[in-house]
Amino acid sequence: MTAPTADAISEISFKAKYKTNRNGPGVWILSHAIHQWPFILMAVLGAIGNAALASVVPIYIGRAFNEILKTPPSLSLIGRYAIIIGGSQIIRGLLQFGRNFGFEIIAQKIERMVRQELYINLLGKSMTFHNLQSVGDLMARATNDVREVNYMFSPGFNLVVGSLNFLFIPLFVGPTYHPALIITPLAFIVLYVFALWHYLTILNPITGNVRSTFGQLNSRLAEAIDGVEVVKGAAQEDAEIERFSDNAIAYRDASVRQGDVESRFLPMLLLAITLGIGLLHALLLLQQGAITIGDVIAYFGTLSLLGFPTSTSLFAYSQISLGFAGARRILELIDTENILDQNVDGYTGTINGKIQFKNVAFGYEEDEPNLKNINLEFEPGQTVAIVGQTGSGKTSLVKLINRTFDVQSGKVLVDDIDVRDWYLESLRNQISIIEQDVFLFSRSIADNIAFGKPDASKEEIIHAAKEAQAHDFIMSFDKGYDTVIGERGATLSGGQRQRLALARAFLTSPRILILDDSTSAIDSETEDNIQQAIFRAAEGRTTLIITHRLSQIRWANQIVVLRQGQIAAVGNHEELMQTSKSYQRIFRE
């Protein structure tokens, strides 16, 4: 582990290739892009060259036309024009490739670096952050939003930069024939900018509406099909069809509105008018003898090149704005405050196992306390059962101990030292938390058990598995300890996953064990195994168990009953049977 850099307070730091400016999505993207300057140079030069050489074709066709009208025309001169046209287009092909591939390289490189930056940042974020953030949301940003940033460069900027140059061709070529020929292209550019701006402002909210109506349709649809048994059981088929039908109509209407806006694409009309007026102007000049027929042809040809920027602007700009929105969302995530820090200079030492809560209050939101007035004291080696209904604050309570969360007021002490004064690594190394939903990596069972102690020997792993009553079911797999677990441990039951997590704990031998135990055993024999594993694991260390199991509650040294974030009762079984009415109720058959 490296020491924290000045960059940000973080739980962990990796070296990135370069630092980025995170003051806003624009500068942030720019600070990534700037490192790709050789490719940007290549792409932009390609784009400019491509446009410039595009103008060669109409210009030389115009000259050839002038030549053919002469009597007699010089075929060798026309031949030379033909070679210029052919040669320039070959070079143009190369330049266009440079532009396309250049932007593609930039896009891929930036995608890779953005994803890496985000990922490193996520790794550095506190457990608080990860516990509060939904995996789905993180996934969306790390995959789709990063992709959008890629598309912003290719095809987004590729087409915008590539086509913008074309806007200027008639502006430069026109005046070479006659100064007045600058008027039409100039007017086009000005009006084009306005028309495009107008189009995009109207379109944006409408596409947003299309997306959201579709989202609504899709999520209710998925629920109705998933819950079809309830729909049928409650005889609500017709009501669901009605609801779907309404959603489908809303989506249809939104799509139609989008189609309407897209159909009135004004830049296209502008182009048609520009071509007509440009031709008129050139012919008038021809009539006056100010320019030649070849000039008219060349001028008209260059005006036609305006078609490229006009048609690409239908979607290239929205692509860029999508990329921008993606960048903003990624940056939001990166900038999310990170409250906890490692406290490298903090206290280190072997934990004895005494835990105290003094006047603790805690809440995820400032003014909504999940826990208040918590005063507790657990002695080293004790087993404590924490009971209460969902939302009573059980999980928050135990997660204050390893600083997954920090208290809002009051303090939590481990061995009489405030947890905030401990060196985070030393504290967490000695506290093991087994979550309700045990996460296993798609690696072998042995690797999963040895996750916290990568250098553990095979014997140690097997011993830990035996202690956790996991050895028998592990051996029932064909590959035993080498069995690779399906994603999220899909092939194992909740009880089996819990026992693998317990095996992990036996291996690392934490001083404090926190177990969020809500698995249920289908049969009594499995229950026997789980009981045995948990009782074993609790030996010789302070153990806090959030549990639904009556036997754990019955035999704990202390039982803490939580209700709506406060301690409703505390004591051992005999004491609570005397004092707590709701406690009595659960031990009544």
Binding site: S88, R115, M139, F244, G259, S432, S551
Partner: protein, 606 residues
């Protein structure tokens, strides 16, 4: 990801003959024939204008070279050019407006029909086919089919325009026209080659992307664990590997995709150069006019892009049509539960008779054989037995979720096949093993089966359970949002809400497939209270997993291989010491207080 999902064939898929498929598709367009006519007209109009505009300009040039030009001629020529452009824009506007409406309406209609069919399908259908794939047919496939329409209009326009232009070119000078047409096979060859290469690298690129996404998903889910054990570096390495690989693959993809337009550019440039030279020779020889020469030069490009889009059109048509086929297959899938009459019971007594019932899910595995059972009105019946004993099937047959093959099932003496299903199920309260909630508030979920129920009634029922204490555990009481599929509530709370649903509905028959999930002891006692309330008022069939439920039953049926092997109440059966006693020892023993008392032995045992 998600790109290929929904393409997998399902058992209910069928092959439609082209004739039937097209007549089905045409049915969906029937209501919109007026729009279709406008679309067709506009396609032809736009294509015509596209083809004619360069011809107008070229003919104009011819006149300019031959005569002195008048102001009138200038105005007419540029007027026509401008007019054609404006008409083309207006035609495009009409085309797109109508296409957007046609497609949106088509998608709406297809999706609604598909949804209607799915939600009316038997439960057996939904048990068999994954909901994700059904959803994908209703949304993705319908949109895919919609895209086919857009694509068809585009390709048709390009095709018509190219054909008109080709005809004009051939009329102008057939030899030069032939030379232009020689480009087409060359381009076709190039495009075919390119498409093969592009498909390969795109597939590889997507695979690499999917791999990155999977790695991110796994490692992000595991970050909390990794942090717990300070193993961040090891998962970073895993991510970095996938990220670098994806980069390399996608650069290669970028290279292939970047190369095609430049190549076409080069071909186009060389072709233009040749046309400049050899066209000029033709002009000097008097074969074509200077204007015609210009026409050939300015239309060379026009044949390049249609070649590209038309060559990929056929695969896209096939994709679109098979999407349509999948949607129709979903709409047409057969039902197995069919009613013979339409009786609507107002109030059922709750007497249930099953006589000589044969039932199997598939042809070769009978679940119930010659099964008979009589349930008295108001009786509470618990079904116990190992998995696969047929307990759940009995509940499902009584709820008429599945069709049975032989025998009779009667409710209040009336054949179950004679009821109107909606009316029948309104008399039944059904709670499945994993209670399902819809996103919305707790109250909306409680009143799901009874949309007109009064808030007062809800509060009354809510307060019957532990003095309404359970409402306090919800942050906003009855207005608490339950989240998607009820994810914001605990399992126990979801069960409570499901039971409240039944309490409000006041059914005559209650069918419960009890959950096995573990629930905190306080919620457990509340669930028990709710259950007791329901049991006292209904005929109940309980597929029991909890000891307290079994004990509260009037009668316990022990089932094995679809047969009843023991019958009686808890104490009688336990005293007999046979099948039930064995089941008790396997499944229920650890739920007893006696077990709790002796569990301490594990702390000491070796």
């Amino acid at each position: 990801m998600g790109f290929f999902s929904g393409l997998g064939a399902e058992k209910y898929d069928r092959q439609y003959s082209d004739k039937i498929l097209f007549s089905r598709i045409i049915d969906y367009f029937k209501m919109q024939s007026f729009r279709l006519i406008i679309i067709a007209l506009m396609i032809v109009l736009r294509a015509g204008i596209d083809a004619v505009t360069p011809v107008v300009v070229a003919r104009g040039l011819d006149r300019v070279t031959q005569q002195t030009i008048t102001l009138q001629f200038i105005l007419i020529l540029s007027g026509i050019t401008l007019g054609l452009g404006v008409i083309s824009w207006a035609a495009n506007l009409l085309l797109r407006r109508n296409a957007a409406r046609t497609i949106a309406e088509l998608i709406r209609k297809l999706a609604t029909d598909a949804f209607k069919a799915s939600v009316r399908q038997d439960l057996s259908f939904h048990d068999y086919f994954s909901s994700g794939k059904i959803v994908s047919r209703i949304t993705s496939d319908t949109r895919e089919f919609g895209q086919l329409i857009t694509l068809t209009t585009d390709v048709l326009m390009q095709l018509i325009s190219s054909i008109i232009l080709a005809v004009i070119l051939f009329q102008t000078q057939w030899r030069l026209a032939l030379a232009v047409m020689a480009l087409v096979p060359l381009l076709l060859l190039l495009v075919m080659q390119y498409r093969n290469a592009a498909r390969k690298v795109t597939r590889e690129g997507m695979r690499a992307m999917a791999n990155v996404n999977a790695t991110i998903k796994e490692t992000i889910s595991g970050i909390a664990v990794a942090k717990n054990f300070r193993q961040e570096e090891s998962i970073y390495d895993e991510f970095d590997d996938a990220n670098q690989t994806s980069y390399k693959v996608n650069i290669r993809r970028g290279l292939i995709l970047s190369i095609v337009f430049p190549i076409m550019r080069v071909i186009g440039g060389i072709a233009t150069a040749l046309m400049v030279y050899f066209g000029a020779i033709s002009v000097t020889q008097g074969i074509v006019s200077a204007g015609a020469w210009y026409l050939f030069l300015s239309t060379l490009d026009r044949f390049m892009y249609p070649v590209m889009s038309i060559s990929s059109f056929w695969t896209q048509v096939q994709t679109g049509l098979s999407a349509a086929e999948r949607i129709f297959a979903l709409i047409d899938a057969d039902h197995s539960v069919n009613q013979t009459d339409d009786l609507k019971p107002s109030d059922l007594e709750g007497r249930i008779d099953m006589r000589h019932v044969y039932f199997s899910y598939t042809d070769d595995e009978p679940v119930l054989r010659d099964f008979s059972l009589h349930i008295k009105p108001g009786e509470t019946l618990a079904l116990v037995g190992h998995t696969g004993a047929g307990k759940t099937s009995i509940g499902r047959l009584i709820a008429r979720f599945y069709e049975f093959q032989e025998g009779v099932i009667e409710i209040d003496g009336i054949d179950i096949r004679q009821f109107n299903l909606v009316a029948l199920r309104q008399q039944m309260g059904i709670v499945s093993q994993a209670p399902f909630l819809f996103s919305g508030t707790v109250e909306e979920n409680i009143t799901y089966g009874c949309p007109g129920c009064q808030p007062k009634e809800i509060m009354r029922v809510a307060n019957q359970i532990g003095d309404g204490e359970w409402l306090e555990t919800l942050p906003n009481g009855l207005d608490t949002q339950v989240g998607e599929r009820g994810s914001q509530l605990s399992m126990g709370q979801r069960q409570l809400v499901a039971l409240m649903r039944v309490l409000i509905q006041k059914p005559s028959i209650f069918i419960l497939d009890e959950a096995t999930a573990s629930i905190d002891p306080f919620t457990e006692t509340q669930i028990q209270t709710a259950l007791d309330l329901i049991l006292s008022e209904t005929t109940s069939i309980l597929i029991a997993h909890r000891l307290s439920t079994v004990k509260s039953a009037d009668r316990i049926l022990v089932m094995q291989n679809g047969e009843i092997i023991e019958e009686g109440n808890h104490q009688q059966l336990l005293d007999r010491g046979e099948h039930y006693a064995e089941l008790y020892n396997t499944y229920f023993r650890h739920q007893s207080l006696a077990y709790v008392e002796e569990s301490k032995k594990y702390a000491k045992a070796d």
